[in-house]
Amino acid sequence: MQSSSHAAGGTAQPVPHLAGHFASLEVQNHAARLGMWLFLATEILLFAGLFICYGVYRFLFPEAWAAASRSLDLQLGTINTVVLITSSLTAALAVHYAKEGKNKMVAVQIALTLVMAVGFLVIKYFEYHHKFEIGTLPGRFYSYEGIQLPGVPLYFTVYFCATALHGIHVVIGMIVLAFSMVRALKKADFGPNNYTMVELGSMYWHLVDLVWIFLFPMLYLV
């Protein structure tokens, strides 16, 4: 639904299309951001469910929680945190360059973000693999003799649910950012008036980072 005046501009215009029901581009951008924040709020509440499981079972089984969290590889967890924080920096820089219209730099920054995202997933794979080897798995699949306490399998239920859901979000975030990267390379039309696509994709990526910022100390440290 384009307003006729803008539709007449055709494809040559680098400015994003203004939908007819918005008063101005500002309002349209504002609406896009508001929509993204609403979506992110639902995402926060989705992860909140798992945080509450964590809180409740930690309250009930404190010894099991302490013992199980110490069985995780803190080094790999810390490396992953640094990787994800750095990928958040490059995602923020991508928006920065999109505003300035430096499309090549946008593509480079998103590419760096994607490389770090892959790195994060590879490290996560090694962590999961180790857990399958020693048998620290959820529920009745738990078979690790080192820690035999009531509630330990519950810790690993929470661990796997939380990290797997987060992992899925990493993959979705990568896909979203990849679309922006392809656009920055092919159309190269990001600029001061048109950076919403990069901005919203980057916001999603920061949410993924935000969730990990809380998951990391909760699962690995305390």
Partner: protein, 151 residues
Amino acid sequence: MGIANESRQEEQNMREEHHGAGRYWLIWGLLLVLTFVTVETGQIHIPTWGLVLALVIASTKGALVLLYFMHLIDHRGANRLVFAVSIIFVVLLLAIPLVDLGTRFRGATPPGSTYSDMQAIDIGADAEEGRYGGGIRKQGKTGEESGAPKQ
């Protein structure tokens, strides 16, 4: 009109506060420092306040990401409201079940937990599997040395 003003304000903030990339690097540095701090203090295992400290550090890191990477500091009204409401609901969601569990009649807490006098329920399929839901591998040792009471 209100919405239009809000949009204009936000647009201006996003544009005018368009500082150099330095701010992002600064925030990144701060995030790394805070990560280092939380790893170091986390390894001490401070009895009661360890969790509180870790959550305070995580919240600080989260606030930095939200305000500067996600530009919430440049956004106005509705966006902030949406985010604040989601956080209020997270806190409510966490507080209500914990208050419930913390004030329960002892017999109503899950068996095997710190607040229960009953033994953990056997969720294994047979006696060979662990009482605590810990299915000991059949082909391996039976976990006698773990010190857990056996039936």
